[in-house]
Symmetry: C2
Subunit: 118 residues, 2 copies
Amino acid sequence: MSSIQATAPDSSLNDIFAALADPTRRAILGRLATGESSVNELAAPFPMSLQAVSKHLKVLERAGLISRGRQAQLRPCRLRPDSLARATGWLDSYRALWDSSFDRLDEHLRSTQKGNHD
Amino acid sequence: MSSIQATAPDSSLNDIFAALADPTRRAILGRLATGESSVNELAAPFPMSLQAVSKHLKVLERAGLISRGRQAQLRPCRLRPDSLARATGWLDSYRALWDSSFDRLDEHLRSTQKGNHD
DNA sequence: CCAGTATTCAACCAATGAGTTCAATACAAG
DNA sequence: CTTGTATTGAACTCATTGGTTGAATACTGG
């Protein structure tokens, strides 16, 4: 009766990975990597409505991947790398696994089963 | 006229991130990090049916995150780090961005951490 | 005040996802 | 061959998601 819990010790990883799973949203992040941008500017390249892009931005914001400001009637979006870092951090624990040799497996096992690994 | 294309030059990233977005699936990967395992063994800790876990495994396999063998009536699962590496690779391109000293990004980071929320 | 621009809200729809239960398959052993 | 075990398949819910259109809000400039 182990205690692997599927449900959300830190639910934000769910939101982060789910946000990254959409190619439109990844493209938006790619665009934002070059600098702050308005919703209209962000939406322009995509073959979908402005409202659809607005929804994508809401998803990205909820995942903590972007933040938004207010200047005049614009609501400029900018990248928020810290959430991206959370995803990277999770993946890194696995990278350690396959990068190094077998004895690191034990170490990984231990930290994993402490349950901070989700 | 830009060329940001939302649709799938790299469609597998969609599957990989989508697979990682579910906590049950992340827990399964965590479990597999300790070694090969059968479906029954994998399913045991979770408060859901065996069939549900079987579905999760199919998602993970489709994303290339695990592979499966056959021995007797068992279909043992093992981790396949290369797909995980694709996700890591994508994220790494962003890590490079915020790690380096683009002053624009730096500025954004600072204002972000001041916590100007909507 | 009025008109235009930027963005979001709301209602709707089709497709997908995560879960269920019941039935089917595959294999090992008696 | 039959039984038990491991796993998948199929059909079904229910909630969520990605998209649409039309209306509302918020702000700027004339």
